[in-house]
Symmetry: C2
DNA sequence: TCGATATTTCCAGAAATATGGAATCAAAGA
DNA sequence: TCTTTGATTCCATATTTCTGGAAATATCGA
């Protein structure tokens, strides 16, 4: 991941409403959630949320597909994984001090 | 790490100049780099860089201490590690899809 | 085709962030 | 103490981002 893309992803997540939306999508699992449902859960106007989902989508952090009248969003783990790899490997040169805590998490699964 | 702090760290890194500064500090190792040297390397006005180092510092991503007339900055791996843990564990609930690529990096060291 | 529902796009004002010149502060040396 | 050097703070301007009303688009069912 080149740094331009990483910055886009970092900026996308550096926003309370967008971070909350992403976390809800993670909890929703593979079925995802339609935009309207997400707006209701977040108590956020539909158009504002739509803008924010667009930002997350362009950053590669969420996916979407139409289902009838709804557009269903889902967390894109691949995008998040690339960002985490960028931070640990490209950015911190893979130093154990940054990677170790992640190891513990990963091994405990 | 609570999300307020995570957002602060994400926003701090979501900036070309600040990300570049952080990476230089990683490469500089434990001795760190004085602000002026960093400004020279980044071809950035001293006051602009100072503002940005302040943002990184408040976000817990760099440390600093005075050495004579200079103020020496260093990467704070603990802060970065907390951010990475937030993204993988708190944010993605420790899903292997996000953690695995990091594992590979960590194990290859 | 019409109306209802779901979502996005357009747009403009408000708010936050970025930038760098000038002034200020801190340390060192003469 | 005065000057020089290194860095930060102050401040005004420029730019970007955020927000949500209104309008537009898409789909479905009658």
């Amino acid at each position: 991941m080149e740094s331009k893309k990483a910055i886009e992803a970092l900026a996308a997540l550096a926003h309370e409403g967008r971070l909350a939306a992403f976390r809800l999508l993670v909890r929703a699992g593979d079925e995802g959630l339609p935009a309207g449902e997400l707006a209701r859960l977040l108590a956020c106007p539909a158009n504002t949320l739509s803008t924010n989902l667009g930002i997350l989508s362009r950053a590669g952090l969420v996916t979407s597909h139409r289902e009838g009248r709804s557009i269903v969003y889902g967390a894109n783990y691949d995008g998040m994984s690339k960002l985490v790899t960028f931070l640990t490997k490209d950015c911190c040169e893979g130093r154990a001090r940054v990677c170790e805590p992640v190891d513990v998490v990963a091994l405990s699964l």
